[in-house]
Symmetry: D2
Subunit: 378 residues, 4 copies
Amino acid sequence: MSVTPHLFIPGPTNIPDAVRMAMNVPMIDMRSGEYPKLTLPIFEDLKKVFKMKDGRVFIFPSSGTGAWESAIQNTLKPGDKVLMSRFGQFSLLWVDMAERLGLKVELCDEEWGTGVPLEKYADILAKDKAHEIKAVFATHNETATGVTSDIAGVRKALDAAKHPALLMVDGVSSVGSLDMRMGEWGVDCCVSGSQKGFMLPTGLGILAVSQKALDANKANGGMPRCFLAWEDHIKTNDLGYFPYTPATQLLQGLRCSLDLIFAEGLENVFARHHRLADTVSAILAPEGIDSAQIVKTAYYRYNTSLGVGLNKVAGRVFRIGHLGSLDEFMVGGVLFAVEMTMKDCGVPVKFGSGTGAAAEYFNKTSTKAAELPKAKAA
Amino acid sequence: MSVTPHLFIPGPTNIPDAVRMAMNVPMIDMRSGEYPKLTLPIFEDLKKVFKMKDGRVFIFPSSGTGAWESAIQNTLKPGDKVLMSRFGQFSLLWVDMAERLGLKVELCDEEWGTGVPLEKYADILAKDKAHEIKAVFATHNETATGVTSDIAGVRKALDAAKHPALLMVDGVSSVGSLDMRMGEWGVDCCVSGSQKGFMLPTGLGILAVSQKALDANKANGGMPRCFLAWEDHIKTNDLGYFPYTPATQLLQGLRCSLDLIFAEGLENVFARHHRLADTVSAILAPEGIDSAQIVKTAYYRYNTSLGVGLNKVAGRVFRIGHLGSLDEFMVGGVLFAVEMTMKDCGVPVKFGSGTGAAAEYFNKTSTKAAELPKAKAA
Amino acid sequence: MSVTPHLFIPGPTNIPDAVRMAMNVPMIDMRSGEYPKLTLPIFEDLKKVFKMKDGRVFIFPSSGTGAWESAIQNTLKPGDKVLMSRFGQFSLLWVDMAERLGLKVELCDEEWGTGVPLEKYADILAKDKAHEIKAVFATHNETATGVTSDIAGVRKALDAAKHPALLMVDGVSSVGSLDMRMGEWGVDCCVSGSQKGFMLPTGLGILAVSQKALDANKANGGMPRCFLAWEDHIKTNDLGYFPYTPATQLLQGLRCSLDLIFAEGLENVFARHHRLADTVSAILAPEGIDSAQIVKTAYYRYNTSLGVGLNKVAGRVFRIGHLGSLDEFMVGGVLFAVEMTMKDCGVPVKFGSGTGAAAEYFNKTSTKAAELPKAKAA
Amino acid sequence: MSVTPHLFIPGPTNIPDAVRMAMNVPMIDMRSGEYPKLTLPIFEDLKKVFKMKDGRVFIFPSSGTGAWESAIQNTLKPGDKVLMSRFGQFSLLWVDMAERLGLKVELCDEEWGTGVPLEKYADILAKDKAHEIKAVFATHNETATGVTSDIAGVRKALDAAKHPALLMVDGVSSVGSLDMRMGEWGVDCCVSGSQKGFMLPTGLGILAVSQKALDANKANGGMPRCFLAWEDHIKTNDLGYFPYTPATQLLQGLRCSLDLIFAEGLENVFARHHRLADTVSAILAPEGIDSAQIVKTAYYRYNTSLGVGLNKVAGRVFRIGHLGSLDEFMVGGVLFAVEMTMKDCGVPVKFGSGTGAAAEYFNKTSTKAAELPKAKAA
């Protein structure tokens, strides 16, 4: 069929047409005198998205996983103790990485569907008088379950314990969709990627780091590394260049997506995400229904890509991604497709119940009335 | 906002991504030895879409209006008598053109919302023993009202009267979406354009003509003309070239859209259009509601382009185009947007009633069950 | 091979990447309230390119041939006498059109390779005391031979004879590349198209008309017509709309190409064309060498599209188009390819003679010295 | 100006139009059942390009630098002794990486402009009876100087010494342009990237590894790692998936560039590169001329991107990249631009000498004669 599948996975997200256009360009020379005119403003604009007080942003030609690794490699040493929690596939994977890179993980293993356990964190930090814990990790938005954690709360726990540990946040599926206040919350490393709120293809690992993190990097030297090492980027980034070939087309796309975000207004982007249901909905399939079958049916019968349940919730959960470039129409369309899909899979759905409820809600909460041009004259 | 408005006007229609890609190419040389490899198969494949028995297809760098004019200019002489009917904006405009080009129009003026009046046509043709009527005109699908006329019925009326008049059909919003059987129905000129069922931008006037129409062209000479004259195209088309610069990118796009149509299967394309409600729905706004306000609200509040009511039904009717590249999701989305829009405009809509009814219908009539891969294994 | 053929035909010309991007967009609604924001400034900006004093510009979804026809149909009546000259394939075709549309052509048949015969025109006009001649035609740039005619000279001839005839100019391959001063030269209809100086695909017939031409249209009614009739466009254009579906993607591309032209500066664009050898070079192949073989060899052996000789000069002439989006590099490249090609075809070429001479000339006349950033610091 | 700068840096290289089209697509679901239809054939086809006998290919969302790091991290342990040589910026950087990752490098420091010192390597390997050297490194094509090293010769040295060390090759600027025979030459890790011979933007680190390398990985465990770890990819790749979000658009582009390579014929691609001067020419500027000024002038005055001299040869050398998607025309164009540029910078160039010599050579060695269609008939 000629219609491209409708994409509602929790990332990579839909690429706006303007962004696609911005990337569909011939290759340019990343060492020319014109290149910094592209790159330097991007570094500055990213700081606004992360709401940083100090520090800098690194842009790696990698995925978010690379940015996770860069955050760890550049600030911590093998054997360092860190505090982490696990309550979904992506927090799980970050723990796995930390362990494989040689960190000693003090782990809070939580129910999937919960978030960062603030009280436990507070307890553990309070007890760590010797400050053995070098960093505290938090997944801002657990993409596997759609649960958002309270980063300001983690900061409070650190402050209450007067604990000097670095605060490391996974913002891959939150930055650009949910409010991220690195400066206010004292986040030291915030990991993000191009393929979620930035509405781009995968390929940029975006890592925002505080001055405190930069100091830690200098002080302790981190782990053996090269590709994702900060020091090489620091040497060249301020002139608008990179230590090795950058992903130019993605940077051109990022320029465009930042323009779109600022044109809409960062706070408006957050409000839109909130109104359209934040970033991802994880839906528990009724007993006896295989959620993978729901995802498959939506794809092959209704041309709609949903997210599968991952790991512990495979077969039990399916996910609707609604982050990035999205409007009411698209939410209505996916609910329409999901109603039909669930019916096909044996779930007793009343047609129109989901779309009707959403229409009711969107209609009540629409903020666009004032934009109607000539409404009075009509 | 970063989301492109959702397009549900009755043409130009949504351009499939593959077609957009096919047109996003550098300019090529329309006199090179390679060019006919692009053009000759297009001429052949178009014949399949029109289901022609004989004759040929002309491709003009024009809109459908140009193809209308070409059909008249090349087969009729000023002062010729023709039989036409008028029941919507597009049949109205074709009548206007015929009169301006000097034809004597025997006009059946019908209620908007009806179609070609078969019985009247039959009567008039039966009475025209002298065969003064040189051509009979019929609008296959009146885009302004969504009404499809019975072309086979017009042929029957002609045959019953043993009338030799040419049969001229406006297929602009039908060809590629509704079944067009030129050969079987004895259509002599079928006018189409790139921007409806062919899922392309405006810019190609596609005119399919029977051998009988070609003979008439030779016999009577037609009207003064040059740009849209058949004779120049006939001289060059068979070698794969055109008498003046062709719209190459659109031809490259047409190659792709024909591939998409044949890959889906021409009959499957028709079945899909039928299931998703043919080509265009014209909806009468309730008394006291300005349909133009509905269209405006849908656009500015819900990012959705609907069709306005034209001419006689301006302010009373709005239209949802659903021809070309379309699936269930998109129909669900537009109904979702229309429900909210109508509520905003004072129509007492029950949210979920339209989407619910559509989901019910689509779910029952889905033909894709068998395509579910590994359905048994799941 | 993965390299797209290098295009040096005298139109359609190379499409700048920015223009390709601007056209690679989803379809939008040509009746929305936003549409005039695209179209109205285009009408205004085109007037600047044509350097008009009064009148208006029409944009048809047609090729330049359609705009030729529109100019004739809307200002002249069948049987009207007109003065024309013929000295190449495109002036020849316009004469052919005029005759087929019923005009009585007083024809100056000139050697191919010459231009508009100013003295003959002056004589004929002076003798036409009765003002039977209703319009004088001139081909500004004869694309077949590369010869530019003196339009100001034709105006002088008209003024000297105090002749009220309309001045009709074919600017298809000149507007946007050579200076066109409609206001100063008193041009009444100037025909252009999207695919030359405007650096777009074929598909827009652009016709600029003076107030005098508009008055003539009203006064005499012109010929039977509809598709290319001015009156329907006049009714809708001023609001930013069109009487039938416009070629939206091409208009979006035209927006971009106008931006490129104004960014470079209209006069700079002319200067660049002049320096790079105006618009088209027609090269006479040496005796005994088939110029078509040269074109074929360039294409198949060196991936380079040249223009063939047309009609009277077929087999004798080949053409290098250098209008539109072009720089020194490209001219060097095509000369390089042509040297090799001519050698292959038996012409005793000294390799490096053409490229060397061009490098010498370009190097001497380069105007970009001042733009070198930090040249002093280096 | 509307013309995009002509790109002749030694990577990223020019992206063919077909590849740009293939990447200009909406995002698709990398977990759908259709995804492996894209990915699995890519893995297979890459093996053909590398001419592997056994082993597998990894595709990382990284640059070539990431693939360098992956090769080291997955096969060697900190403290392992390796044999390397340094004769240009890229061999230098790989040595730097090896040292930073904790390897003990036995280094052959060579003149820039030479290649891998085969005799020294043979000596060192012969003396290493204890087989302390775990891996031998070789840069196939040193992008900074344009020098190609003899990988078969390195294999010979290893075999002569009956040495079991792994053979690690940097093929970033060679694979897809120069012949790489991993199987025949016994290469164990061959590093490549998307942005050179594969004619894509930066963003894919492509690492081909032999079965011996896979065995070494299992046996010794390598270094701490996660993002670029082979084991996670091995688990998912064979089903057509990746352990984290892949760079889908680049994979779609890679599909297209592989198609282009195979359509031209891998050996024909190599022959074309050889005829057009391999992959990169490093040109020594005459005494007293700053090569950086040449690069700047070419860019700002002639719209042409050349490569600067790097590190030791900064200011002394400039580079012309001619790898990837390239033909004779483009080589002619760049020589034309370079002649003018050098003259501007004070080098006494005879215009036409470079282009003339190239035309002479290309004309003599053209292989396309037979492709001329209908040459006999002409």
